[in-house]
Symmetry: C3
Subunit: 348 residues, 3 copies
């Protein structure tokens, strides 16, 4: 009936290995099998501009940038972190024990004190919130302690080509290829008109695998002098796939965790000004749905309770809390919801 | 070349069974095989608050709710319904006979007269339109005559935690777990500022399978005293998968039907004010495209003829009809269009 | 553990053949295997209105259309074109040679001089830009030199039912079924209020395969007397699947090309007014992301640097260029990016 030829072993293997994610160092990488980044890195040439720079730091400022007095500075190290996707071992929505394995070695952006003196927090998914105001320069001193070249690429903020943090093959600048053990100082300018919630993430030669392992985080640019809202929630919707975790099963997660009770349990009080910043950070499209609430969509002025967004998008909204209770937030893609992309929002 | 190990029988079976949809009562449920909800229900514990309530109805009002004189009341029963996805047996777009099986036992929300006196209509996908005006309370007397606990969870409208209609594991309220043969009275308040087209759907412990079988419907909150438009079309874009239908093939459907001539054939006259309310109610993202027309997107003010939306979204727009003819409406995802997600819009 | 029956050979073959795309002339067509359109065409009946018309051209004008003096006229032929998806043979983002096959016979809309005198350009993916101003009538003289019935279906512009260019089974008009060797004159009216960037594409009885082979293009309606911006970029995001190309591998492409250095390399100067028009033209949802830039989303007024869009959508934005460098534009769906959906934007 179909008039098709039988398929061979190779097609079967490919189908079993999942979706083709990328080709790294000439090797095809599939969603269903863990990628060995240290080994793949051996096959990547150091780009010519990176080799020529010999680790020297470019001094690249943006026209209109103010002086050193208006700078916010961070020290961030990319490093492996032992990570549990389901720390409670339970899925509270379905009231069940999780019987599949859920621990792996994540790669995280970890914040340190000045000059990498001491860690300020444990490594986590997502990385630390980078905060600046419009008009300020954001300086990030970045050190790579993973086993592959990784970077920091920001969204939304203004920066010169050399501060892009993206691997570009033969055109790569040093900031797009920070090798294991090396440092790079990124300099980004929060120009007027860039206020908003953005993201930063790895965009190096092993992209997207280091990102899939956890190398992403939130960046907020506040209007000058603005007061943060009472609650300010940053939620990344992303899956954790075997290619990144080495686990047998994919999890749909929020901030590196799966299932209510493990994903962030958000808390607010009636009367609070509550801000949500929701990001897509995987291969999928998602929606954000919140029970018991609706809000004015800031882009359209419409009242909604569910919003579609995609990879690299950030969706932001604010409301004044008026409804006490234990509520779900979740992705309304049903299989995502049921593979862990849900959490509690508790209002007292 | 790929450096990957051969895969075994289990992976092959999983690939054949389709996508993992959810884990119900500890059992993995895949898109490609019918779920036995009656049997799965045996494995679900009655949550403690549900057991303690012994069927008593909570009296839960929302602050600011007006008195009993301003209430709209419905009687809705969830029940099995014999359903044909392709009642004509034909696909009018491709002018062909459908040779695969397309009948199954749907689960539907069926409207009844007061106190479940008699049915007001046949059970259908979607369920009946629930209509209220801003400022009114919507009371839905719900009875479950299916073989699994199911619920009604509304979007957009205001409600107290106890009226959420969502299963929450050990935290579940009685309204989130209405057992076969039981009743529950939902009380929702159409507060000022919630005007719009929303949805209601099952969110019980077997979610999303009962919803995939047809347990969803439209809910409209009109501004107080508003006149409905000349035409008011409610269209749910959703697939009907083997996991819910027991059929061999998935259909891409609109309102439970697949292929032009089976999906709703919409009719209007030149000069009519025509309103569309389009919903996503499956695992997929869709677009709404209409031939021979374009409209002002109410969110952005832009003129468009195609709009992306996702699961749980409702997309609403209105125009004054000016173009007679036989037109297609369809999802612009090509495989959805060709698996049945299209219909006729006939303007005279 | 899963309680599922083993699956047989047929299911395995179906899984290997990819996703069911459509049923043409009663035959199922899967993404993973090349469709033979000439052969499939043999199984399609000529619709009754097409047979009755015997090639006569309908004279169908739209109410309010101005006279012949306000008409823009094109001659477009659908024809096979030898096409390379990766003309450089390299992926400049990953600095690697492409070792899989990437040449196939595309189907393209090719522009000709008056009365099909001589070709004005090579056939290309996408087809030529059709330009009109509000208030003008667009006349497209279309000739089909492919091996299947194909059409031109426009988005956004105003047209009568007979000028829809869509196959509608037994209801098909001659413009919805232009047979190999035949001509049809489409007449579309750029009514006031339709300004914007739209698309045109095949919507004949073999849809979507001819479109997947390259039969789509951009259509812009400018406000009367408007000056085009300094740079005006039209970018179609679409995959090139085995079903359309006969190649073993799918490519994620922009304008028929995959990987930076093959996809359009866009160029602008600081100070330029730069307009992007980005289209989705496959089964997938995408985002548009541009490095080193952010812009005011014209629909919402928000500052963004990444935007979700779907099949049939066109996304348009404009900014004044202020940031020199070599930048990436790409889809932020990671596997799309890595299968070729990225390109250079070079600002001097």
């Amino acid at each position: 009936m179909f008039g098709r030829e039988p398929h061979g072993r190779r097609e079967f293997l490919e189908a079993s290995a999942g979706v083709l994610i990328c080709t790294l160092a000439g090797q095809q990488v599939f969603s269903g099998e863990e990628a060995d980044l240290a080994k793949l890195t051996e096959g990547v040439e150091v780009p010519p501009k990176v080799a020529a720079a010999k680790g020297a730091q470019p001094d690249k400022r943006i026209a209109g940038e103010p002086g050193a007095g208006n700078t916010v500075e961070y020290w961030i190290q990319a490093e492996p972190t032992a990570w549990s996707i389901v720390p409670t071992g339970r899925d509270e929505m379905m009231n069940r024990k999780i019987r599949t394995r859920y621990k792996f070695t994540a790669w995280t952006y970890r914040p340190y004190s000045r000059d990498f003196g001491s860690p300020l927090a444990a490594g986590s998914i997502p990385g630390p919130l980078l905060e600046v105001e419009e008009g300020q320069t954001l300086v990030v001193n970045f050190r790579n302690r993973t086993s592959a070249p990784v970077t920091m690429h920001p969204h939304g903020i203004h920066y010169a080509e050399e501060m892009d943090g993206a691997y570009k093959g033969a055109f790569t600048d040093p900031g797009g290829f920070v090798q294991p053990g090396q440092e790079f100082q990124y300099r980004w300018f929060a120009q007027e008109g860039t206020a908003g919630a953005w993201t930063y993430h790895d965009h190096g030669p092993m992209d997207p695998i280091p990102l899939y392992k956890g190398l992403f985080g939130p960046l907020i640019i506040r209007p000058s002098g603005a007061t943060p809202p009472d609650q300010d929630f940053f939620l990344f919707f992303h899956d954790l796939q075997p290619v990144a975790t080495g686990l047998a099963k994919a999890y749909s997660s929020v901030n590196g965790r799966a299932y209510a009770g493990n994903t962030p349990t958000l808390r607010a009080s009636v009367g609070d000004e509550v801000a949500f910043h929701v990001y897509g950070m995987d291969n999928n499209f998602h929606t954000f749905h919140l029970h018991g609430h609706r809000w004015e969509d800031p882009g359209t002025g419409q009242i909604i309770d569910n919003k579609t967004f995609g990879p690299g998008d950030s969706y932001n909204f604010t409301f004044t809390e008026d409804n006490p209770g234990r509520w779900f937030y979740h992705c309304h893609v049903f299989s995502h919801l049921h593979m862990g992309m849900n959490g509690w929002y508790i209002v007292t």
